[in-house]
Amino acid sequence: MSTPDETHHEPPNIHDEVAAKTGETPTAGDAHAVDDTHGTHDAHDAAHGPQAAAGTFIEENSPQDNFLAFILVPLTLLGLLVMLLTIYQAPIPQEPTVQTTPVAPPVGEHMPPPPTIK
């Protein structure tokens, strides 16, 4: 038997298709635009030089990239750690508690009744 689909088919390059449909092309002279639109590999190498060919290239970052990567992501990680620690330190119920009819008025019951459409 033959192993199914052993021959490799180059998947469609979505960024190229987008560019073809919208008429948008990579910005001239912008090496990273060339890279991100996945132009020819030669163009990629030419744009990024030997580093790119060696596969160690890291794309340059805009201020937004830096803010997201170096400030927002660490803050999110901090939030995740706080979440885990808070749950870990949560009080353990001493006696099993059954969720039944509220013993006190529901929170916010003092608020005015909502509008009703009949």
Binding site: D5, Q64, L72, L80, M83, V107
Partner: protein, 691 residues
């Protein structure tokens, strides 16, 4: 200003839903005014800002819930805000509201944190895409819909947001709609989900019929199908209805199951079956990988597909209540069967896929099966714990695959990869962490939740437990296959791989932390407690205290099953290592050259996804072939002729009447005179005819 008073915090929780909804609207409206880079920056800022707000608010809610004593109420007591009634007729009342309790807070944290990291990643992944702003608008709309679903107070409200997340999924799968494969995939997802949602709605209507009919009205004018609310909540109403046999009367439709409750539970469960891609409605999820990778991570791995599991957990009594005279609710048996079978089936398919994203998609289907099996076996906490852990490590795995695809210039075929660890170390490390976690490597997050499910399933039904154990071995095999084929060995591709920007790599690292640590929430808080827990004693654990159904249920570790699960995973890893790591075992060549038809059949059976797509296509084709003549007659002869007849009537009437509208004053005067004359004659003769 953000309210920090716990009571006010809960009262204003609806802003978690409104913020991304407003962001989505603003992005759409402002995109007409701001084009280019400023438009992109605005879209990202609004969308990410809204979800940052949601994540922060969820953390505050968690803190308020666990550290303060709200109105002298137990921390485990759910809180219900005033509801807004939008329909009332007699005793039927439909409302929308916000429900904040332990379960919803857990889901809020999962959805907002994963959504936030995915949106940051999106900035790097989609930055050159012309549809960048549109993508963020969809992301915000989806986040709002998902959060609305999580905070729903009743089944109707949940159904509304359920449909909304379905629509968002459709938009996002077909984001690159000009690709034929993407447009077909989004249509397939839409149609399969409509089948599930249709039966879900029928189930809801049957439930209303059984509990809110004039003879058996248990809601007494309170909100229908509300999850909480004392004696007018879904659990209490189901008990009351069962007590007076309102849910157990026999009729031809329910004769097969013996009671109405089973039919309702099964119908409603078809919704989660479709949304969470369970057999036989699982076929849409792997095709949904046609969407951009951030979507695969957020919607089709971590959040939306978990909505089905969340619905089963939220409406748990529907499946958990056992009618008098029966030993088990038929609904739970149904869910357990479907979940276990799906877990195994998807794992066998994942073993032979070459597309890295589709491999992960089948893995998601399998893990969702674990969650359903856990819920059905009776471990509410275990099922939800696996959902919690799975959201983090699966989102990370998908984002890793996106980083690989980005670095490989769009390549998704693992046969063109290999040795990528040298080029993308951070991505490889995160993928390895995710792989270890999902495989149930000891002390990783997946280990604890999967062990809980397998252990409970084994004690519930040994066949079920055995299948899940076997599936654990298959999981380790296919996940390490993915890892070795992608990151180890020699590079087999032709393009030059490169690393991804920090905006794409750093979110992976952030997700790696909970992928390792979140499982530790299953460990007791003290060293002595951990020792006792491993010794099999019932010791309280944080996650079981936080998320549970009715009462916390603590169990000690079942060492024998824990070892069995680990052994199965080790066997799976060993095979993957020998075949794809060191290539000592050349199984691929042996299969390819084998003359044994059974080997060939088994391989093709797995590779072709059990031929489900072909079977469904064949069934639809045959069904259409049988009824083609009928549809043709109805369409061509009846519908078309009916429309043509209406047109003919209208045209004929117009033709006749046009002669009366000739524009000549004399003609109109003649008509008026004639009418007056007729009326005069009638007035004259009428008394004579009717004395």
């Amino acid at each position: 200003m953000l309210p920090f008073n716990p009571t006010e915090l809960v009262s204003n929780a609806y802003w978690i839903v409104l913020a991304p909804a407003i962001a989505a609207t603003a992005i759409i409206l402002l995109s007409f005014m701001h084009k280019g880079k400023s438009g992109k920056t605005l879209a990202a800022t609004l969308s990410i800002g809204a979800v940052v707000f949601g994540f922060g608010y969820s953390l505050l809610l968690l803190s308020a819930f666990l550290t303060s004593n709200l109105n002298q109420r137990d921390i485990l007591q759910a809180m219900e805000l005033p509801e807004w009634t939008f329909f009332q007729s007699g005793n039927i009342k439909l409302s929308i509201g916000v429900l904040v309790d332990n379960l919803s807070i857990m889901m809020l944290l999962v959805v907002t944190s994963v959504s936030l990291l995915v949106q940051i990643y999106t900035h790097g992944y989609m930055r050159e895409d012309p549809g960048y702003s549109r993508f963020y608008a969809y992301l915000s709309l989806f986040t709002a819909s998902m959060l609305g679903l999580v905070l729903a107070t009743n089944l109707f409200q949940m159904y509304f947001f359920w449909e909304l997340v379905g629509v968002c999924s459709y938009f996002l799968i077909g984001f690159w709609f000009f690709k034929e494969s993407a447009s077909r995939a989004c249509l397939k997802a839409f149609i399969v989900n409509r089948i599930g949602d249709c039966l879900f709605l029928i189930g809801i209507l049957l439930l209303i019929g059984a509990t809110a009919s004039p003879g058996h009205d248990f809601w007494k004018g309170h909100t229908l199908l509300s999850f909480i609310g004392g004696e007018y909540s879904l659990p209490a109403v189901l008990k009351s209805a069962l007590a007076v046999n309102s849910l157990t009367y026999g009729n031809p439709l329910t004769a097969f199951a013996g009671n109405n409750l089973a039919l309702i539970a099964c119908c409603i469960f078809v919704g989660p079956m479709a949304k969470s891609a369970q057999f036989p409605l699982h076929v849409w999820l792997p095709d949904a990988m046609e969407g951009p990778t951030p979507i695969s991570a957020l919607i089709h791995a971590a959040t939306m597909v978990a909505a089905g599991v969340y619905l089963v957990a939220r409406a748990y009594p529907l499946w958990q209540i056992v009618p008098a005279g029966q030993t088990e609710n038929f609904g739970f048996q149904f869910i357990g069967l479907i979940g276990t079978f799906t877990a195994f089936m998807a794992a066998t398919i994942a073993m032979s896929q070459f597309d890295i994203k589709r491999g992960l998609a089948w893995s998601t289907v399998s893990q969702l099966g674990y969650m359903f099996a856990g819920l059905a076996a009776g471990t509410f906490t275990g099922g939800m714990f696996h959902l919690f852990n799975h959201a983090f490590f699966k989102a990370m795995l998908f984002l890793c695959s996106g980083a690989v695809i980005h670095g490989m210039h769009g390549e998704q075929d693992m046969r063109q990869m290999g040795g990528l660890r040298k080029h993308m170390r951070g991505t490889a490390l995160c993928f390895l962490i995710g792989t270890l976690s999902i495989s149930g490597f000891p002390l990783m997050s997946g280990f604890f939740s999967k062990d809980d499910i397998i252990s409970t399933a084994w004690h519930h039904n040994q066949i079920m437990g055995g299948v899940l154990l076997l599936t654990a071995g298959l999981t380790a095999f296919y996940m390490f296959r993915l890892y070795f084929m992608t990151f180890e060995g020699e590079y087999r591709g032709s393009v030059h791989p490169h690393n991804s920007p920090p905006a794409m790599v750093y979110p992976l690292i952030a997700l790696a932390v909970p992928s390792v640590c979140s499982g530790w929430l299953a460990l007791p808080q003290s060293v002595q407690g951990i020792i006792d827990w491993f010794a099999g004693k019932e010791v309280a654990t944080p996650f079981a205290s936080f998320v549970h159904f009715e009462v916390p249920h603590f169990e000690g570790a079942d060492i024998s099953l824990m070892l069995a699960g680990t052994a199965c995973a080790a066997v799976g890893f060993t095979f993957a290592y020998m075949i794809y790591g060191t290539r000592q075992l050349d199984l691929n060549t042996q299969i390819a050259t084998s003359a044994n038809p059974i080997v060939s059949f088994l391989y093709n059976f797995s590779f072709n996804k059990w031929w489900f797509d072909e079977i469904y296509q064949g069934l639809v084709d045959r069904l259409l072939a049988v009824y083609r003549g009928v549809w043709n007659f109805v369409d061509m002869k009846i519908v078309d002729n009916l429309v043509n007849f209406c047109a003919l009537i209208t045209t004929s009437a117009g033709e006749l009447l046009r002669y009366t509208e000739n524009g000549r004053g004399q003609s109109y005067a003649l008509v008026i005179f004639g009418c007056v004359a007729v009326l005069t004659l009638v007035a004259y003769f009428w008394p004579a005819l009717h004395p």
